[in-house]
């Protein structure tokens, strides 16, 4: 049989940009996991070609998606089609995890009144926290300010990650109605974590969510990570309603929707120290 007669065989010249122009190899009747023979000849084995990317080349499609992703907090009202959410979760399923333990489970909420209920609960939690700890919302010199500040300084020492000035400002903004938790997104995906996961399951949740978020960006959707969703773990009522049971807990949430405007400009970001060991030397780059 000639090469062109095989329907599963990819066209011959497709090697320049192997990252994403590579065709999906198997058709409907190829057994899952088996690559079409044409591809094996061309790419695998000892003679497989190395993709050479020249210096200074443009970003490829995957890099573009990563560079243009922003945390979107203003959504259009229009609901996201269900098949796109399924598509995002599908790539989430393929995230790497420690020991391939896959410590995730997904809860998708698409009913506006339910999302509003979750919002109300988290806002209430933020309000309590803000009143109890954020001395910046009280007048300097007042007794309230003094007492709260003393308390906050102690908690700050005990829990320096949670009481970083940025989330504290956010908690107060939420309490005052200037900021939201789920940003009125039409869809909320809760990432549940199996607390028995290997090593540090939080990291695996992060990687899984990153797959989801980048897939969303590539589909023209906006997303935002919602750490304050963890407040829901404290509510028996919400855990029951959402089906969050031990050994699972809500680790993160991702809001999904169509972004307002077109937030696609590239932006500047911090550069970070890179220590580079090569040729017996250590160099520092940024």
């Amino acid at each position: 049989m000639g090469a062109t007669a095989d329907p599963h065989r990819p066209p011959a010249v497709l090697v320049e940009s192997p990252m994403f122009e590579r065709p999906m190899s198997h058709g409907s009747d190829t057994p899952a996991g088996v690559e079409a023979p044409g591809q094996i000849e061309k790419k695998a084995g000892r003679g497989a070609k190395i993709a050479r990317v020249p210096e200074g080349a443009d970003w490829n499609a995957v890099e573009e998606v990563m560079l243009r992703r922003r945390s979107i907090r203003q959504y259009k009202r229009e609901q996201v089609p269900a098949h796109l959410i399924r598509r995002m979760l599908e790539v989430g399923r393929y995230a790497p995890s420690q020991g391939n333990c896959q410590p995730w489970k997904f809860v998708v909420v698409r009913d506006a009144d339910m999302i509003q209920g979750m919002e109300d609960f988290c806002v209430e939690s933020c309000t309590k926290l803000s009143r109890g700890l954020d001395y910046a919302s009280y007048r300097r010199g007042s007794v309230k300010h003094l007492v709260t500040r003393a308390k906050a300084k102690l908690f700050n020492r005990l829990s320096p990650n949670m009481l970083h000035p940025v989330p504290v400002a956010a908690i107060t903004a939420i309490a005052q109605g200037r900021f939201a938790v789920f940003h009125r997104a039409p869809t909320v995906i809760l990432l549940l974590m199996d607390t028995r996961g290997i090593g540090t399951p939080e990291i695996d949740i992060g990687i899984c969510g990153t797959n989801i978020v980048l897939a969303a960006q590539s589909l023209g959707l906006g997303t935002c990570w919602i750490g304050f969703s963890k407040f829901l773990n404290k509510s028996r009522e919400w855990c029951a309603r959402l089906g969050v049971e031990k050994p699972y807990e809500i680790s993160e949430a991702i809001t999904v929707g169509y972004p307002v405007g077109d937030p696609q400009n590239l932006i500047a970001r911090d550069t970070h120290e890179i220590a580079w060991f090569e040729g017996g030397k250590r160099e520092i780059f940024y």
Binding site: S71, D262, T271, Y286
Partner: protein, 109 residues
């Protein structure tokens, strides 16, 4: 110096002291700003506002210093390229930023 001193490790900055919490550094080019308000709408920290006469409104940072996380969503959505966060936030003491270089656009290598 990319290490925290002992004293710094013990000092938690005052959330309400602008000299200890160095939040916003957002620059607006008024010549380019057309007052479309998109940045004000998307700013997660709610630190931007419009000011000026009707028809000639421009964006600016509110007086309140608290909140801006240099996320640059304002830059991402601005069609005329008039606004941008120009530096990361920083704090004194425990939360001082370490090992950071200059702000930079994505570079090609």
């Amino acid at each position: 110096m990319a290490v925290l001193s002992r004293a710094e490790r013990r000092h938690f900055p005052d959330w309400d002291d602008p000299t200890q919490c160095l939040f916003h550094r957002v620059a607006v080019d008024e010549a380019l700003c057309d007052g479309c308000k998109l940045c004000v709408v998307v700013c997660p920290a709610n630190v931007l506002e419009l000011y000026g006469e009707k028809g000639e409104r421009k964006a600016r940072v509110k007086e309140s210093f608290r909140g801006c996380a240099s996320c640059n969503n304002c830059r991402a959505i601005c069609e005329s390229g008039a606004i941008a966060a120009t530096r990361a936030y920083d704090f004194v003491g425990y939360y001082r930023q370490l090992g950071r270089g200059e702000f930079s656009m994505p570079r090609k290598f």
